[in-house]
């Protein structure tokens, strides 16, 4: 009896060893692209897929600041022509929005992300390989009154996935993400009006235009990516600004 048990155990124990599932690096890249924790910044709330659809067919009704990623590895330029190197394009997102460090992309993380982007552009495929028009006007001026009845719809398509519900922020990406329009109005309605502005509501709406078009660049702060005029039209932005008003 003792020998039988020992034999059974001897046969079973090797089978108890861990098994290894080998996956391509692109699979790791796909996981990284969907993980806001990948940049290891406590302030980051974004994953790559927060702002980019993987394929155009997955955009749906959303208005996203980033272009679809299919074909990105074959594109000749990025960021509206500001750079011609994929590594630099990704590094900008990684450092400016996701608050990671550039050296992350020189190691395993970058290697996996690149492998994933490559896998989205198989040999012979030209889908998504054309440059994506992205125009970010440097000069921002008041857009005038829009259609207030459309503001909610624009919000839902362009803003809600990060900022959550209007007024409460319910469902926003994190506690540091501003609650709109309250936070914006609190921050800007009482400011000394810059030259050229006589009306506070016009001013705060222009601040919103600036934030949408410049994101965290050109004098503003934060981590928000900018929306190009191709991604979010001036008409949409004009309607969106109707959510904002100063007393």
């Amino acid at each position: 009896m003792r020998s039988a048990v020992a034999l059974a155990l001897a046969l079973l124990l090797p089978a108890c060893a861990d098994t290894e599932l080998r996956l391509p690096a692109s699979a790791e890249g796909a996981a990284i692209a969907q993980n806001p924790g990948a940049s290891r910044s406590r302030y980051n709330v974004f994953a790559c897929t927060t702002c980019h659809a993987v394929r155009p067919s997955e955009v749906g009704a959303r208005l996203l600041p980033g272009a679809p990623l299919e074909g990105a590895a074959r594109r000749p330029s990025f960021w509206g022509g500001e750079t011609v190197h994929l590594h630099e394009a990704v590094e900008r997102c990684w450092t400016f929005f996701m608050r990671g460090t550039p050296t992350d992309l020189d190691g395993r993380t970058g290697e996996a992300l690149y492998a994933w982007l490559e896998s989205l552009s198989p040999d012979g495929s030209t889908a998504g390989a054309q440059p994506v028009a992205q125009t970010y006007p440097r000069v921002v001026r008041p857009l005038g009154d829009g259609d207030a009845t459309r503001a909610q719809a624009v919000w839902t398509r362009a803003c809600a996935s990060c900022h959550g519900a209007i007024g409460t922020g319910a469902g926003r990406l994190g506690p540091l993400v501003s609650i709109v329009p309250g936070d914006t109005q609190r921050e800007h309605c009482d400011e000394v009006l810059p030259a050229g502005f006589t009306d506070r509501t016009t001013y705060v709406r222009t601040v919103v235009v600036e934030k949408v078009r410049h994101g965290s660049f050109l004098g503003y702060a934060g981590s928000m990516p900018p929306f190009s005029v191709e991604a979010l039209s001036d008409d949409d932005v004009r309607d969106l600004t109707m959510l904002f008003r100063c007393p």
Partner: protein, 413 residues
């Protein structure tokens, strides 16, 4: 109480259950890439026999590459690293041995009405010194420098870069505190792209060169009306200011001479200071360590910018703005005027730099019309001028606000 062993079947069952509970643990292992990530790089910049010229388009965040032999613009490469902003690549240097290009990016003051927040002003934005591959212009490294970087120089061995800072904001916001008004010379190890020294030199320094032996950096000190001589010999750098008026100026924010540009003669014996306020050039004799009053130009037709020299150093060609022109002068005592050419706006607007090319032509950087609103600006051009009479041999259309040209190949030094 005596310990009573478990019955064998029970012990075996427990062991089996324990073992099986840990069975089937699946560990995911990802393959590594075979190829280098982010695509294959390149190492050969493909410099043709006639050589290439590299020109900064300072309001387009790019560098234009001129094929000197073919007389064409071969490519224009983005060089900015700051999204959406004017990155302001002004000056540049090429290290052909390492196949790299350097340029300090000078983010401008937010003078344009970009939006309510830009109006608050961001002229204290640090500059960024970038290193890019000469082959495909990919970014190889970057390091922050002070706001408003101006000129740069590269040591002969390519291991050290020097960056000046034309920091008028610092000068204006620290009036009454001369120490705080001074801008820094920043020294950078180009291999690691790290700063190795920060040396306060003078008020709003711009044009600069490093001596061939690498021991001295000369800087045009605009606000101090002086030449800054920075000795890198010894354990600590030392700074000496050689005042054009003989003594420190009364007002460092309103200079009388305004030395802005600077050039080293081909033999390294003279440093030439171009003055943007007094419209003159004057030589500094390196051996004697003093200004050479016998080599002071008469008042030129406009602001004197960066001159170029004939290979033997006997003549120089000076671009001026105010009245747009180039003037050829003897570099010897008396500085005889050889010839002068004035430009119509169609020929050349705002000449800024002359450099002697590897093909024996003078290359003139014409800034073109530029405003803070890119939509209202017009591209500049590079003119290749015949060395005999300064006539235009060919013209290269480049981007908005070209600022400087350097060469590679074709016998370029």
């Amino acid at each position: 109480m005596p310990h009573r062993p478990l019955p064998i079947p029970l012990a075996a069952s427990l062991l089996l259950a324990f073992c099986l509970a840990g069975c089937g643990e699946e560990r995911v292992v990802y393959d590594r890439l075979d190829a280098s990530a982010w695509g294959a790089g390149c190492s050969d910049p493909g410099i043709p026999d006639g050589g290439l010229g590299y020109v900064t388009n300072s309001l387009m965040n790019s560098v234009a590459v001129l094929d000197l032999g073919a007389g064409t613009v071969r490519a224009t490469h983005p060089v900015g690293v700051g999204p959406l902003a004017e990155n302001g690549p002004h000056h540049l240097a090429v290290d052909l041995a390492r196949s790299v290009l350097y340029s300090p990016l000078s983010f401008p003051a937010a003078a344009i009405p970009a939006g309510p927040h830009a109006e608050h002003g961001s002229s204290d934005t640090p500059g960024i010194f970038v290193k890019r591959s000469l082959c495909d212009f990919r970014l190889l490294g970057q390091v922050d420098v002070d706001p408003n970087p101006g000129d740069m120089a590269l040591s002969a061995d390519g291991r050290t870069a020097y960056v000046s800072h034309f920091d008028l904001r610092r000068a204006q916001s620290n009036v009454g505190d001369p120490e705080r008004q001074r801008s820094n010379l920043i020294v950078i190890d180009t291999a690691t792209m790290t700063r190795t020294a920060t040396i306060p030199v003078c008020v709003a320094a711009h044009g600069m060169v490093v001596s061939p032996d690498g021991r001295t950096v000369f800087m045009a000190c605009y606000g101090d009306d002086a030449l800054g001589v920075v000795s890198l010999d010894g354990p600590r750098p030392t700074v000496r200011l050689v005042y054009l008026g003989g003594s420190p100026p009364r007002n460092t924010t309103s200079p009388s001479y305004g030395p802005y540009s600077l050039a080293l003669s081909p033999d390294g014996a003279s440093v030439w200071l171009g003055c943007a306020v007094a419209n003159v050039l004057i030589a500094y004799d390196v051996a004697s360590g003093a200004l050479d009053e016998s080599r002071l130009t008469r008042r030129l037709p406009g602001k004197a910018w960066f001159p170029g020299f004939s290979p033997d150093g006997s003549t120089m060609v000076v671009p001026t703005q105010g009245r747009d022109s180039v003037t050829r002068l003897s570099t010897g005592p008396g500085m005889a005027l050889r010839d002068q050419r004035y430009f119509t706006p169609e020929e050349c607007t705002l000449p800024h730099q002359v450099a002697y090319g590897p093909d024996g032509l003078y290359y003139l950087v014409c800034e073109g019309r530029h405003t803070s609103d890119p939509a209202r600006s017009q591209p500049g051009s590079i003119l290749a001028l015949h060395p005999d009479d300064l006539r235009t041999v060919r013209s290269f259309p480049v981007g908005v606000f070209p600022d400087a040209i350097v060469f590679a190949g074709g016998g370029a030094r």
